[in-house]
């Protein structure tokens, strides 16, 4: 507006005090920060075999002994493994190992099947390759990735087929839930497609007792 002589209108104070508003905002933010959880919990999917007694032995898929590994999760965070089918009258087949990368994971990685394959090592390498491929090529969709991962987990690698391992996890009553989750975690890290949580039967108990496991 052009200044005119004589118009001595006092300019109204247009500044608004924002301090109370800021105070209120602070309160609201504090409230939201305290009563919310930002991160959603993670989860792992687990499919258990059906308890249906009608499934007979023939319908269950059988695998070769050298491609099978049985894990026993015992109390006090102890873990034992049997390579191949457990020999119930030979406690020496039960070997003790530890949790973590130096223990159970290296057992899995270095497990040799007949024919001299180390399937877990090969499969893990293939998975790593696939992961880096995906990191480079952003256009790869989840479904393509999962299909490829499934194929790798079955042992169908680009360099030829390797026999995939089957892991049987048997947790004793004294084991904790953490042990079970840790074991399932190892399956995921080692990209093992076939694993099952089985019940501990009397033969297993006898074997564990003979080996001095509580």
């Amino acid at each position: 507006m052009a200044k005119k002589k004589g118009s001595r209108q006092k300019k109204a104070e247009t500044r608004v005090d924002f301090t109370p508003m800021v105070d209120m905002m602070m309160l609201l933010i504090t409230f939201f920060m305290l009563c919310t959880s930002l991160s959603k919990p993670q989860s792992m999917q687990l499919t258990m075999p059906s308890n249906d007694k009608n499934v007979n032995e023939q319908d269950r898929s059988a695998t070769k002994a050298s491609q099978t590994l049985t894990l026993y999760l015992a109390g006090n965070d102890q873990i034992y493994h049997v390579d191949g089918i457990p020999q119930y009258d030979n406690p020496a087949c039960l070997k003790k190992t530890t949790w973590g990368a130096d223990g159970i994971r290296s057992v899995l990685i270095n497990h040799r099947t007949e024919g001299g394959y180390t399937p877990v090592k090969n499969i893990m390498a293939a998975k790593k390759l696939l992961d880096s491929e995906r990191a480079k090529d952003k256009s790869m969709s989840d479904s393509v990735y999962n299909a490829k991962l499934d194929k790798i987990k079955k042992g169908e690698l680009e360099t030829g087929k390797v026999p995939a391992l089957t892991i049987i996890i048997k947790a004793l009553d004294t084991a904790s839930y953490k042990n079970l989750v840790d074991a399932l975690d190892e399956m995921q890290i080692c990209a093992i497609g076939k694993y099952v949580i089985d019940k501990v039967n009397d033969d297993d108990m006898r074997l564990l007792k003979a080996a001095g496991v509580k």
């Binding site: 508003m21 933010i29 919990p41 059906s50 004294t174 399932l184």
Partner: protein, 207 residues
Amino acid sequence: MGKIKIKKADVWIDMTPMSDVMVLLLTFFMLTSTFVKNEAVKVNAPGSVSEIKVPETEVLQIIVDKDGKIFIGLDKPGYMQEMLEGFKSKFSGLSLSAMQEKNFIGLASFGMPMNKMSDVLKHEAGDVNNLQKEMGIPTDSINGGMSEFQCWVDAARNSSFGDKMKVAIKADAATPYKVVKKMMSELQDMSENRYYLITTLKKEEAE
């Protein structure tokens, strides 16, 4: 001596940018957050490298605390009501007043044996959690049939959201496997074979 005139400094601080930032922060928190539910018990889920998210809706959450007590929760109060209706239709002996039912529906998760229900639900919501955390849902079978736990799951499964229902298990890291096995085997008996095990994120150790 003459008075020294100090020019009064302008102490007015412009709060506008600050309030801008505040509004942004507030909006961020409001949009990204989910409220912490007041669970019956606090459990420490074990860590895992898995990165699958828990589904958000139609989740039947089974909480197992470290002593092996079992609690069940659903994500919406409406679902809780449906489950309660389904459960009540199985047991004619169970009668709850409107106030008790309202109390039940408001719970984030519950775990009490059927015969204690009307007794516990008389109390205020805060006290209910204190009382029920000593109880848990029994997994013993009733006269050789389904256990109370199985009846609850069955009631949830047969309600309107039953087809989409997912089972999530949240157990404490120190829970004995025996309890988890019993609970899972009861679920398997009713052919609920797929679960989400709720874990916390743990980074993969360097190889």
